[in-house]
Symmetry: C2
């Protein structure tokens, strides 16, 4: 999925959640997380005791251009230090924990974070090391657990995937994009008159061609045809295209063509008389 | 994010959308797509003219165990053949196309697909090659375009990321998981009586300790304390823990401890009298 966004919605402000990676092992995974963050407008990356130190050259190619996130990343010795300035922190984990702590879906979490962020509070998401996941002591520092619903037969997702899902859900809460739209590309929607002329033209040609031979179903058949073309939400220009199609089909052979030839012959004859 | 899903929701049926990868270049990316599919319960993978042929050994490690998806994958020569049995097909693309075709968000698309699937219709999602994306001729075969809202400053996501987002959104439409819940782990929520006893105990000790020295604010202070503990949604067991904490604090020193010592002394004296 290459290219630029089809909707030129402006870049969201940078008060989104901090992404806190605890004990991340591979620089490549840190880079992938940075890429996913920046895809969805996040830039506050915090690393707690990354295994291979920081900066890590393996992160750069994996970030695929999200250098701004890597450059701004901050390193901490402990989780407590990394989250000290945050008001609400959520622990991402797929494992069941023996704790009485609320578990929320990514969507619910994103909504909560957006709500807090909107009133000026700082939020963050904790991610554990690749294999082991978060320790219970880190989970206990958080306000709630966020767990991605997964196929119970195959419920292991990697660090970057988890970051993608959370960053994606965050971004959706701020996206002012309509859930569907149809670009018009400088065309004009067809007027009712455009459509009526198309229907009249088509029905005349069909009558001529003997299409409506069962009179008792004629009105149903007309209605069905009209519904087909109403559903297409035609433009003015497309109506012209379709009238050309009807004309071509009608005159390309059969009674329509015969009729047209007769008309042409008559016109030529009339012209000859003038 | 390792481990098994914390919610034992059953595996969803396999009538989910077909994932159709057109001209995929790297086996690794096909494997990653398969992993993302199976994470979210999808198994119908279709490959149109994969660059390096099929099967491709590079796909296996990247699938991280989603072998069922790779084993079932079918290969087609053309997009038209790959989608022949499908009723509704959506083209994933981030690029603006000069076509009058409706553009939907991933969430909207997932909802539409779930609706069609529920009435027995077959749906699919088209993904283009890694760099180039879908050709316009492929897009024209589709019912609508689905476009992931992205940071306009950094709007390039890779094939596997796009599959994750779409598969995730599909899975959410079928997940019967509540958006939040708090596991009770075999404990009992505290009764009002439990809480009242805790409040009485704490307030008695605080009165004893001289905490409520400004009489005019006493009722406000009590209310604030009660609100703190009401918000915690305590269990019966946690109320016992807190009563132990209050007792330990009150007797660990200060007037409470002095009072308790006096009481103990009195009891001993009383016992001595008997």
């Amino acid at each position: 999925m290459a290219g630029t966004n089809s909707l030129e919605n402006k870049m969201l402000h940078e008060d989104g959640p901090a992404i806190i990676l605890i004990g991340a092992q591979l620089g490549e995974n840190i880079g992938k997380a940075a890429r996913a963050m920046y895809n969805f407008g996040l830039t506050d990356l915090r690393l707690v005791a990354p295994r291979d130190g920081w900066p890590n050259p393996d992160a750069i190619p994996a970030a695929a251009g999200a250098d701004i996130v890597l450059d701004k990343a901050r390193v901490y010795d402990s989780t407590a230090e990394a989250i000290a300035d945050l008001n609400y922190v959520y622990a991402t984990t797929a494992r069941r924990r023996d704790m009485i702590k609320t578990v929320v879906t990514p969507r619910k979490c994103a909504g909560l974070m957006r709500g807090y962020s909107d009133i000026g509070q700082k939020v963050g998401l904790l991610f554990g090391p690749e294999k082991a996941g978060l320790k219970n002591d880190d989970v206990a520092l958080c306000d709630a657990i966020v767990s991605v619903p997964l196929n119970p037969s195959f419920a292991s997702i990697n660090l970057a995937q988890a970051v993608i899902v959370m960053a994606y859900e965050w971004f959706q809460t701020g996206a002012d994009q309509p859930d569907h739209f149809t670009p018009q590309l400088g065309t004009t929607p067809a007027s009712s008159e455009d459509l009526q002329k198309l229907f009249d033209h088509m029905e005349d040609e069909l009558t001529e061609a003997g299409y409506f031979r069962h009179d008792q179903r004629r009105s149903t058949m007309k209605r069905n045809l009209r519904n087909i073309f109403k559903r297409s939400e035609l433009t003015h220009e497309e109506v012209s295209t379709l009238r050309g199609v009807v004309k071509a089909l009608a005159t390309g052979g059969g009674p329509g063509w015969i009729a047209e030839k007769a008309e042409l012959a008559k016109k030529m004859k009339d012209n000859g008389r003038k």
